[in-house]
Structure formats: structure tokens, C-alpha cells
Symmetry: C2
Subunit: 352 residues, 2 copies
């Protein structure tokens, strides 16, 4: 088993091992005193993993209740959240009990947010079942729901008590969903580790599973390092937004229908890096390597959306402070920096 200790305001561990989900009851009982757990999951994950998780919890003496909502981003809304709150109240969940987020990013985000806010906070455990959730959203304590007018506009910083990553769960994902998560893995390589980038680049969507434990371990380690330095997203953590400001614009331009998050981030990473090369801020070879790896994971490099409109959408990104943009630029694979620029300058940079 690989273990990563995260020293956030509340320390916790990320455990990575194939098949680990079968032992989750024992692992969870080691980090909490309660023996009453509420699982929150979506209908697809429920049909595959709930029985395994519940059996394991019951074997470790837990009483378990379960809330299931419909799979997909539209569920990450205040209506589902209110239904989760009602479910917790009906089951008399107290501050000493715990929630278990079993699923991908949507499940983790909304369950974590419910755990952050119900009774002003109770413990929660992440059991991420997608690559995106395992390497990104389950670690670092960002939780959120969407509003009708924008994604992740309401949220909280809430660290889990434990993250249980079972790479075998990726075997039940479609190749497209794996690719979607791999965009974030590529991002970690670009911003912080040419070694990780090399491992990803020397594999493809066909054989990535041979090195998946190592990829997850390295991605989570990078996120851990960055989050430990900047838990509340005031500085270094912005590096994690590489490809994301433009990526969010791409998602938003198509009303979140045409591009998944990972696909949009792939486009965003290519766009900003292409401009960085033009401005002499990035090695041309780095762009070539980035483009090659994006393509080998069947992710897109470009979009039909007009650049000028995408840039306008960037100004609505909630991460902008007033009229400045914190552009994340990689000068080579593994090396990134934050460049704060006025919005107009960002537009010029992108339209050059």
C-alpha cells in the first residue's frame, strides 16, 4: 500500500492500493470513533460498489445508511444538497458521525460540502472512484456545488479524515472518463515534475494501467506539497490552475455540454503554452511534448470556439481578482510560474 500523509490544518492520509476498497471498513474504523456512517453516492457507482463498501463497513461494526442521487454534474446543485441535508436530519446524524463520499468528483464535491456545513461540520471520508477524483478533487479540501449561473460558485475548504484510492475502480470506467482524468495528470507533470510527465508520455490510453499506481502516487504527492504550502488558495495553489482559466472558458462557452472538464483543460493547456512559445516564455520542444501526450490520451488540442470570446469568458472566472488574471505559464515540462497580469494584457498575450 502506498501512503501519502497530508499535513493540512487537519492532517490525514491518502491510501493507494489495488483492491483496497474491500477493506475500507477497517481503514475507516481506524480514523473515527463513530460506528455510524452515511454513504453518499450516485446511481452508477451505487450499482457497482455500494455492496462491497457496505459489507466491509458492517464487518467492522458500522451501522450504515445510504443516499443515492443521479449521476452527473447537474446533480451538483442546491436541490441535491438540500435532499442530502434532509436525509442526514432524518437519520439523526450527529457531529460525531461521518459521511462517506463514494464516487467521482461530483460526489466528492457535494458530499464534502455537506460535511463542511451540516451542523457546521462533521467528519467525512473520500472513496474516489474516477481518475480525476483520485488524483485531484479528493485531495486538498476544496468542496463545492454549482449555482445556475456558474460552476463551483458556492463551497468550503474541508479536509477529509481519510482518502481511500483503489486504482482497480478505474477498470470500470470508459476510456473517455480515464482520458478526462489523465488531463489533470498531465497538468501535474507540466507544472511540477518532468519525471511524472515522462512516465505518462511513455504510455498511452491503451497501457496506462501498467503504471497507474505510480501516476496516482506522484500526482497526489505534488498536490499534497502544493496544498500544504497554500491550503486556502492564496498563492502557490494557483499553479494547479494551469490550463484551467481557459479550460473553464471552453466548458462555459459550450454550456458544459460539449467538453468534459479534462478535455477542456487539455485545450486550455495547449492554448496558453502555444502563446507562451510565441512570446519566448516556453521551449518549443515542451509544447511539442505536451501536444504529443495530450493526443496519445485521445484528448483535444484545439476548439472551434473563437479565442476572443473565450478570453472574455476568462474575466468571469471566479479566480480573477478584480481585473487581474493569474496566468499559469510553463517554461518547460515540470516548471511553472504564476504571472499576474491585467486583463487587457492577458488578452494581448493570448491574441498575439
Amino acid at each position: 500500500m502506498k501512503k501519502i500523509a497530508v499535513k493540512a490544518s487537519k492532517p490525514y492520509e491518502v491510501l493507494i492500493e489495488q483492491g483496497i476498497i474491500k477493506n475500507c471498513g477497517k481503514l475507516i474504523s481506524d480514523v473515527t470513533k463513530t460506528r455510524f456512517a452515511a454513504i453518499v453516492t450516485d446511481d452508477i457507482v451505487d450499482s457497482i460498489y455500494s455492496d462491497t463498501v457496505i459489507s466491509s463497513l458492517e464487518e467492522s461494526g458500522f451501522r450504515v445508511v445510504k443516499f443515492v442521487f443521479k449521476n452527473g454534474e447537474p446533480s451538483k446543485c442546491s436541490e441535491t444538497l438540500n435532499r442530502i441535508y434532509d436525509f442526514l436530519a432524518e437519520n439523526n446524524i450527529t457531529r460525531s458521525d461521518c459521511l462517506i463520499a463514494l464516487g467521482g468528483g461530483v460526489v466528492g464535491d457535494i458530499t464534502g460540502y455537506a460535511a463542511a456545513t451540516y451542523l457546521r461540520g462533521l467528519g467525512f471520508i473520500q472513496i474516489p472512484t474516477t481518475l480525476l477524483a483520485q488524483i485531484d478533487s479528493s485531495v486538498g479540501g476544496k468542496t463545492a456545488i454549482d449555482l445556475p449561473c456558474g460552476k463551483n460558485l458556492v463551497g468550503a475548504f474541508k479536509q477529509p479524515e481519510l482518502v481511500i484510492c483503489d486504482p482497480l475502480t478505474l477498470k470500470t470506467l470508459s476510456p473517455e472518463t480515464v482520458s478526462d482524468g489523465m488531463a489533470e495528470a498531465i497538468k501535474y507533470g507540466m507544472i511540477r515534475s518532468s519525471e511524472l510527465f515522462g512516465i505518462i508520455a511513455s504510455h498511452s490510453i491503451e497501457n496506462y494501467f501498467d503504471v497507474i499506481d505510480d501516476i496516482i502516487f506522484r500526482c497526489v504527492s505534488i498536490k499534497r506539497d502544493i496544498v500544504e504550502n497554500d491550503e486556502f488558495d492564496k498563492g502557490e495553489r494557483m499553479l494547479l490552475n494551469f490550463g484551467h482559466t481557459l479550460g473553464h472558458a471552453v466548458e462555459s462557452f459550450y454550456n458544459y455540454t460539449k467538453y468534459t472538464h479534462g478535455n477542456a483543460v487539455a485545450v486550455g493547456m495547449h492554448m496558453i503554452t502555444e502563446q507562451a512559445v510565441k512570446h519566448g516564455d516556453c521551449e518549443k520542444s515542451a509544447l511539442e511534448k505536451l501536444d504529443a501526450v495530450i493526443s496519445s490520451y485521445k484528448l483535444p488540442l484545439v476548439t472551434d470556439a473563437p479565442v476572443s470570446e473565450l478570453i472574455s469568458l476568462c474575466s468571469n472566472d471566479k479566480k480573477c481578482e478584480s481585473s487581474n488574471i493569474n496566468a499559469i505559464i510553463c517554461s518547460d515540462t515540470g516548471i511553472s510560474s504564476i504571472r499576474k497580469m491585467p486583463f487587457d494584457e492577458f488578452r494581448k498575450y493570448m491574441e498575439a
Copy 2:
């Protein structure tokens, strides 16, 4: 001007001065870099104070937007919250801007909660305009909304950037609303300061205003001391619940229609103290003094609700950990302790 520095995870000051609300713009500009503020208030407070506050903010260079909702506890719900979020999004409020809660406890609680969660947190200022809000809810960082199945079930700990207390605002309150707040002032005297208790006891609802600045200062100082030791409500802060477990039961028994919070807390303080005297846990003279002061502020001592049903309702109090009750017992004015007892023992204690 009286100043109280609160050293929470994020330090801030409580300022107390008659007429201070007219200078709020300057005071707020000293604690925030933004010059864009969103006021959240209710329709009654709006009609009395918004113009003054907006003028002062504009004089200090602020651009101001305002959201007004209907006065009263039923507004402290997810529907109002979602309308506040939409309002913030429509006005492009960013993380560097600030919210201003102008009003009583309901306004402070829901605005603070919106500030805790919109964009995962932005700064907010409290301008409490009721006695209850000035001495209790505006300090300490507890924010919340109600669910259909219970009060304050969803919330966050969120410290304000500044609290501006203008005792002159109490002049626009009904005597009943002042009494409502005075129940909490009596509570502070009971749990921590016989001196404060004496000051309150030597006045009444007719002439309390002569010593109001001092009462507010002393109450906030006590709350500050307790909250600094226990920001996240794991121990000492429970002392603030004196009279509240039973008080919440009284409110709940009548579906929050017959008793205001302060009235219910007055009944709760009397009930638990009467039992404490019977068990030899409290001086009889302390009960007499408590009853006298409760009566002199036109607050009730008893309720028609059957004790056994009130006790049953206590088990649903969210502050219970599983089947234990943390009963707060005063052995004399100014001296309190937390007694953790199994629920059955609490029932016996109360029914003796």
C-alpha cells in the same frame, strides 16, 4: 469608543459607540482593500438604516449594492440564501470584495453564511442592530441557516473582519425585542460575571439604556474570552448554552411561534437553575436573584409546555453528542460548569 480585540483564527475588533454607524464607511475602509461592498439587510432595518450606511460608505469611496429580504426567522432559509448567491453573482462580487450584514441575528447569520461559502469565502462586516445580535450572534463566528426540520442545522464558522455596534440602534427596537436580547445578557452574567449580573439587576427594561454601552462591552468581552479558548465549539464554548438546551425545546414545542429566542432562554435558565437548587448544585439565593432579574426585564420564568415533553425535545438538540447531554449548571451568579450526563440522567435531574 470601546474596542474589543478578538483573537480568533482571524483576528478582528468589535467597536462600540453611540452614533458610530454614521462613520461605518471610514471604519470599514480601514479593514479592507476593496471599495466594493454588498449590503445584506431586511426590509425593516433597510427602511431605517440603509441610507445612513450607504452614504457613509460612498463618502469613503465605496461602490455599494444592496440586497433586501423580508424581516423574520422564516427568511433564514436556503431559498433566501440562493437569492443572495444569485445577487452576488449578478453583481460580479469577487473574493476580494466584502459583504455587510446590516441588521439583527437573522441578517447576521445568513449573511455570514453566504460570506463563508460564496466563492469559498469572502470578507464580511457585521453591523448588528439588535441587542441580541450586538452581544451574542455577531461575535464568535457562528453562521447558519435553518432547514425545514430544524434551526441552524446548516452553517459554518466564519469570523467577520469587523463588528460595528451602535447602541443607539436599540432605540428603534420595541421593548420586547430589547428584552429578548437582555435574556442573553443575563446569561453572560450568570455564567461568568456576578459584576455584570449586578449591573443588569440594578436596572430594568425602563432604564437599561443608561448602562447599555457597559453591558454590551462586558457581554462581548465574556464571549470573546470564551470563544478565543474554544473557537470551534468543542468544550468551554458550551457554557454559552446555559438555558439554551431547554430554551430550544420550548421554542420547538411551540413551533417557534409563541416564544422568541430570548423568552425561551429565560424559561430555560429558570428551569435548569430551579432543578440545580433542588439537587444542592446551586445557591437558593442565586435562583431568587435570577428570577428577579428575568422578571424585571419582562421575561417569562415558566411555560405551560409539559416538562417531560420538553426533555424529550432536548434529545434532538444538535448539540447532544449521541445520547449525552451537556447540561450547563450555575452554582451561583457568575459561576458555571458543564456537566455531561447520559440523557436518562438528565431526565431524572429535570423531573426531580
